[in-house]
């Protein structure tokens, strides 16, 4: 049996298993709390795994391992930002949001504000961030299947994108948060298992001598000791000062973005209490941290055992480094059959990874569309629960369709920057609005709206005029040149703009509601009046 057949079978098993769970979950999904928040009845450990499942995207697994395999140490910089970011979520956001919100990010922001403008802004931002992230994953799925299953025609890739899109729509529409959470849990277990297995084999091959592995990686990369030092990818000496500032800009967006990502924030609502939200983040930090340590070994292992040349021949960005490593190390230890099986397993895990992440994003954006924009803005709070849930499912279809369409259109474009952009928007618009809402008494409607739009618009506009969209060989549109912003990452400018706009909007408006602030402050810290878990 060839590896493509085997990985297809394994992947179909994953799909069959998760679909079965999804249809089971649909029988327990009746109320809005079930659909949006999984009945708030997941345990901290389950939600911690699901946090890992939502967060460890293909960009993390294949992307970071690939960057390390090709550019060495710099991939590690990415994973450290992704991990440290969870402390912002743990210390400042998770518990307070669980206590004061209901279904979406906007619930917390609109608490003491004029609800319609704030929900509109938060809904728009949620959908924009999720679509950026979604699009990067969809295009990645098309590229990946081409490499792993040997489907290289544009039509074959388009078909893959349609398939991934349809599956994610089914997970979300049928299973709601309950089904989607179980998909994340299964995926997180598979991903951790697969990554651990390959890591142990690589380390075993080197007699658990990390220094030996690093030395081999440096030699095989052809770049010597500099392969183990920062500077081959981000802020290279050739890019000069702008490149180094760009590195800091990226670091800021990574560390501040996570706590503003809507699909991560709604995870905190799926557990019964704020204490469980805290514990689930602790589980998440343990799982995600361990995972990034594994990717370090996977990346350097791929550099040492596969070699940069073989990796970049398969995929210029190194996205297939982890599967290639699985095959190489399997061959070395178990012979050809072992290599084939291991490659098939890792390829199937990679598909499961993409599928789970896109489902989480579709759920977050369609929930916000239905709960914030439809029920509270268009219908002014007069929609029935049934109407709202119907709209949530319609929105999941629509967003899924948009993601499929854009994914196919963007197939041949380099859209890898969209993940970093999603983090930058989340850090520039959402995070200031959330932090001010929770901690600043004077904060008001004008402040919330200016923070979100100020951060969102500045991040997007700066990226449009940056070298990632035009004016460079690796840009989205390499043949055009309308770039005037020198950095690839807008965070260092747009994050301060978001915080400043929120402050300025606030002080320029007289409005503020002291009584409501007292309420959100007491509720967020004590859990009085927090939404309870539903019993089934």
């Amino acid at each position: 049996m060839s590896e493509t057949t085997l990985s297809t079978i394994l992947f179909l098993l994953f799909v069959a298993g998760t679909l079965a769970i999804t249809f089971w979950a649909s029988r327990h999904t009746k109320t809005a709390a079930d659909y949006y928040a999984g009945g708030r009845s997941f345990s901290a450990a389950q939600n911690g795994l699901a946090i890992g499942g939502d967060y460890m995207s293909a960009a993390s697994f294949l992307g970071i391992a690939g960057i390390i395999a090709l550019s060495g140490y710099d991939g590690f910089l990415y994973s450290i930002g992704f991990l440290v970011a969870w402390l912002v979520a743990l210390l400042l956001v998770a518990e307070l949001m669980r206590n004061s919100g209901k279904f979406t990010m906007a619930d917390v922001l609109a608490f003491r504000m004029s609800p319609r403008p704030v929900r509109t802004a938060a809904g728009v931002s949620t959908i924009v961030v999720s679509i950026f992230y979604l699009l990067a994953q969809m295009v990645g799925a098309g590229a990946l299947v081409g490499l792993l299953l040997g489907i290289t025609s544009p039509a074959g890739k388009a078909l893959t994108i349609v398939g991934v899109g349809l599956l994610m729509i089914v997970y979300v529409v049928v299973g709601g948060m309950k089904g989607t959470t179980w998909v994340q849990i299964v995926k997180a277990i598979l991903l951790m298992g697969g990554a651990t297995l390959v890591t142990l084999l690589v380390l075993g091959h080197y007699g658990f001598n990390l220094s030996g592995l690093l030395g081999d990686a440096a030699t095989q990369s052809g770049k010597g000791a500099s392969f183990l030092e920062p500077g081959l990818k981000y802020g290279t000496e050739a890019q000069g000062l702008a490149g180094k500032i760009d590195l800091i800009s990226l670091g800021l967006a990574l560390v501040l973005g996570t706590a503003g990502l809507p699909h991560i924030l709604i995870r905190f609502y799926t557990v019964p209490t704020a204490k469980d939200a805290r514990k689930s983040v602790l589980w998440g930090i343990g799982i995600i941290g361990t995972f990034y340590l594994l990717t370090l070994v996977l990346g350097f292992g791929a550099a040492a055992l596969v070699g940069s040349k073989a990796i970049s021949e398969q995929n210029a960005a190194g996205n297939t480094a982890a599967p290639q490593l699985a095959k190489a190390v399997g061959n070395l230890i178990f012979g050809d059959v072992g290599g084939t099986i291991l490659l098939a397993v890792i390829a199937a895990v990679a598909f499961a990874t993409i599928l789970a992440v896109v489902a989480g994003l579709t759920l977050a954006s369609s929930s916000s569309f239905a709960h914030d924009l439809y029920a509270h803005v268009f219908r002014r709070g007069n929609a029935t629960e049934k109407e709202e849930l119907l709209m949530a499912r319609v929105a999941a279809f629509a967003i899924g369709a948009v993601a499929i369409g854009l994914g196919i259109l963007a197939q041949s474009l380099n859209v890898a920057f969209l993940v970093a952009l999603a983090f930058a928007v989340a850090a520039s618009g959402n995070l200031p609005a959330i932090l001010y809402s929770l901690f600043w008494k004077r904060f008001n409607t004008a402040g919330a709206v200016s923070a979100i739009y100020g951060g969102l618009v500045s991040a997007v506009v700066l990226v449009i005029f940056s070298p990632v969209v035009s004016g460079s060989a690796t840009a989205m549109f390499p043949d055009a040149n309308f770039a005037w912003f020198p950095l690839q990452n807008p965070g260092i400018v747009s994050i301060p703009i978001g915080f400043l706009a929120g402050w300025l909007g606030t002080v320029l408006s007289e409005e503020h509601n002291a009584a409501k602030f007292a309420e959100i402050e007491v509720r967020s810290l004590t859990g009085v009046g927090a939404e309870k878990a539903t019993d089934h």
Binding site: I80, A518, G529, K532
Partner: protein
């Protein structure tokens, strides 16, 4: 899943009470400086990765250099801060928060804004 609603004056009263102010102080005096500290520690790492490459490339043991150790220390500090926060919350925040919550939710008079602060 109906949520008990309270008159907003209850919250202002509780919010002004000494014990709530103590809870808020215990939370903020731990979380805020720690956030500043770990962000500064992280930014130091990023800035050194950009501007102090010779230092970061110094080999310490075999092929293990300062950059790798510094990176791994970010993992260690993240795990330690998360663990310390869990301990701080369990010891200093949860008991007080639970006490206040039970008082407001358990006391029917609370709904009329007659909580003893």
């Amino acid at each position: 899943m109906t949520t008990q609603q309270h008159d907003s004056s209850v919250y202002e009263e509780i919010g002004g009470s000494e014990r709530f102010q103590e809870l808020k102080r215990r939370y903020r005096s731990w979380a805020f400086p720690m956030t500043v500290a770990f962000l500064a520690w992280y930014l130091l790492y990023v800035v050194l990765s950009g501007f102090a490459r010779d230092f970061m490339g110094t080999k310490v043991w075999g092929n293990i250099n300062i950059a790798l150790i510094f990176g791994l220390l970010q993992f260690v500090s993240t795990f330690l801060i998360a663990w310390a926060y869990a301990r701080h919350s369990a010891a200093k925040l949860d008991p007080l928060a639970d006490e206040l919550r039970h008082e407001i939710e358990g006391n029917p008079a609370a709904a009329d804004g007659e909580v003893k602060a």
